[in-house]
């Protein structure tokens, strides 16, 4: 663990991400105000002691909503990466092991998915399935499948050529056993690094979809949605447009740096190039 904290990127990323995780965890038990409670008297206020980040057009406390929104973002990050990992790693392993036709088919499928403009397709998917947080996660997660499939294929192909695999085969371990016990553990680092980076990308993507009204639906708090609502009231309360965006940038920066730090530490070959 110590070697991770020797890396500046990792340390800064860890601290920033930790703040987001803590804010999310705390918001599950306590927020300064009920995040959805309207209060007509306190509409469109700037930061004050009572409402440190101000209030929105319904008088809802922005700090409470930013805190609740962090739960939203973390769930989106986790679920989308889980979708990409489970399906992508599976396809990547099949591709690397069988090669030939299976490999060709899976990689062309990846090409096909990469061919579609991500934002546009996510909008299409959420239009078909109906706008909601779950469907936004599905729309983003689908694009992670080829990302993880390609990465898994590339690293697993190298691992399959290694001598210890030949040794495991000589010991009579089944191919599935080798995949589970020897190949998977050896490709975990790149998957972890990519997973952290995709986590950050998912937060950005969900914010974008929510901004367009296709992600998390009201009255639930979502940073993207909050920015959309803020745009209407920019003249009267500009603060509304500041804090949700800051929260997005903060968490994306945190998870990006965490991913960079992990890469620097777990994959030292990359350090020289960067």
């Amino acid at each position: 663990m110590k070697r991770f904290f020797h890396n500046k990127n990792f340390t800064v990323g860890f601290v920033l991400s930790l703040v987001v995780v803590i804010a999310a965890a705390v918001s599950l038990l306590w927020t300064p105000y009920d995040a959805n409670r309207m209060n007509a008297r306190d509409r469109l206020q700037g930061p004050s002691w009572q409402h440190p980040l101000g209030t929105d057009q319904y008088g809802r406390d922005t700090l409470s909503r930013v805190m609740t929104g962090s739960v939203n973002s973390i769930i989106v990050g986790l679920v989308t990466v889980a979708i990409g990992l489970t399906l992508g790693v599976g396809l990547g392993l099949i591709s690397a092991y069988f090669g030939r036709l299976a490999d060709e088919a899976i990689m062309r499928f990846a090409d096909l998915l990469f061919g579609f403009p991500a934002v546009l397709t996510a909008i299409l998917i959420t239009s078909i399935l109906g706008p909601s947080m779950v469907n936004a996660m599905l729309a983003i997660g689908i694009f992670y499948i080829p990302v993880f499939a390609r990465l898994t294929r590339a690293v697993a192909m190298v691992v399959w050529e290694r001598e210890f695999i030949a040794a495991a085969r000589a010991c009579g371990i089944s191919e599935l056993g080798i995949t589970w016990r020897h190949v998977l553990p050896n490709i975990l680092s790149p998957l972890l690094i990519q997973g952290t980076i995709q986590f950050a990308v998912a937060i950005l993507a969900e914010a974008g979809l929510s901004y367009l009204g296709l992600g998390t639906q009201p009255p639930h708090a979502s940073w993207g949605r909050m920015l959309n609502e803020a745009q209407t009231f920019m003249d009267t309360n500009p603060w509304m447009a500041i804090f949700p965006g800051l929260a997005i940038a903060w968490s994306v920066l945190g998870f990006n740096l965490l991913g960079d730090g992990l890469r620097d530490t777990l994959d030292p070959k990359m350090v020289r190039v960067r």
Binding site: G115, F116, P117, L120, T121, I125, G208, L212, A241
Partner: protein, 314 residues
């Protein structure tokens, strides 16, 4: 090269076919009946059936698919259900906004990224490099639509220098139109500049370690000539590739920023068309965008094979 080219061409055609069938299938299952949307909830079943037949919606999946793709192959345009005009014309009119927007965004990205990337590489691990890299991290973490909102907040609401959104049209007011694109292009450009700066830096660092750069220095050339004439030209190859891909993505991916600035571009057209179930418009635009991405990838593959003959052997 010819064998490689034909292999790649076959893959391209196959991929385009798959793209078209996917686009069509996805839109085929899109809930919401265009006829119902056009005629409203008070429409009689007879008028609905007549309109469906008129729009070709009563035909089978493959009937509709071949009707659609057949027309596209011979260069015939479909008719937009909502705008009542040929889709090609509609796309062209919207490209007049999105095209310049994407180009201006790339100009901003290049103006920012190349000098900063070179500077960071030349001062590797020094304070200037660390500062530039820190800013690129901030750029990568900032949602472009939030940056757009902040720009509106500062330049439109506070300073009143720009309109907060909208687009007057090139014919009505060319200068006003250019001004309307400046803020959104800057928002798009800054985010892309972050990626390009990092790429320019790492590419420069690699090239500056090459033997021919050392030779150029040993010949006694000025550092400026070594960096800008010998190193930069080679360092820019990967940067140009990514720039090409970014430009392609910008045409498709400016949907959110066009919404922030209420620009009547391609992204907003497709976004509103999905809402109105104007399927001919959505289909053609999605296919156009996907084709652009697939085609750019194809050109990049070919360019790489041309530059590095080893790729063909794979």
């Amino acid at each position: 090269m010819l064998r490689y080219l034909s292999k790649k061409l076959i893959t391209l055609v196959l991929l385009l076919f798959l793209v078209s069938i996917t686009v069509f299938s996805v839109l085929f299952v899109l809930p919401g009946d265009p006829a119902q949307i056009i005629l409203g909830i008070n429409a009689t079943p007879e008028s609905l059936a007549a309109l469906r037949a008129d729009l070709g919606l009563d035909r089978s999946f493959f009937g509709q698919y071949f009707d659609w793709i057949g027309k596209l192959v011979v260069g015939q345009s479909h008719q937009s259900i909502h705008y009542k005009m040929p889709v090609f014309e509609l796309i062209l009119s919207r490209l007049a906004v999105t095209g310049p927007l994407a180009l201006m965004a790339m100009v901003f990205a290049v103006i920012i990224s190349i000098p900063f990337g070179i500077y960071a590489a030349r001062h590797q691990n020094q304070r200037g490099d660390v500062t530039v890299m820190a800013f690129t991290q901030l750029g990568l973490a900032t949602p472009e639509f939030w940056l757009g909102i902040l720009l509106v907040l500062f330049f439109s609401v506070e300073l009143n220098w720009f309109a907060a959104g909208g687009f007057p049209g090139w014919n009505a007011n060319a200068w006003g139109s250019l001004k309307a694109l400046l803020l959104p292009a800057f928002a798009l450009g800054v985010i892309r500049a972050s990626i390009l700066t990092r790429l320019t830096r790492s590419s420069m660092l690699e090239v500056l370690r090459e033997d021919y750069v050392r030779t150029a220095r040993a010949k006694g050339l000025r550092e400026r000539t070594v960096v800008y004439v010998h190193a930069l030209r080679n360092a820019l190859i990967p940067v140009l590739t990514i720039m090409g891909l970014q430009l392609g993505q910008l045409l498709a991916g400016a949907i959110i920023i066009e919404n922030v600035f209420f620009l009547p571009g391609l992204g907003r057209l497709v976004f509103t068309s999905i809402g109105m179930r104007d399927l001919p418009v959505v289909r053609d635009i999605v296919l156009l965008m996907a084709t652009a991405v697939v085609f750019v990838n194809f050109v990049v593959d070919l360019a790489y094979a041309y530059v590095d003959p080893r790729i063909k052997l794979r």
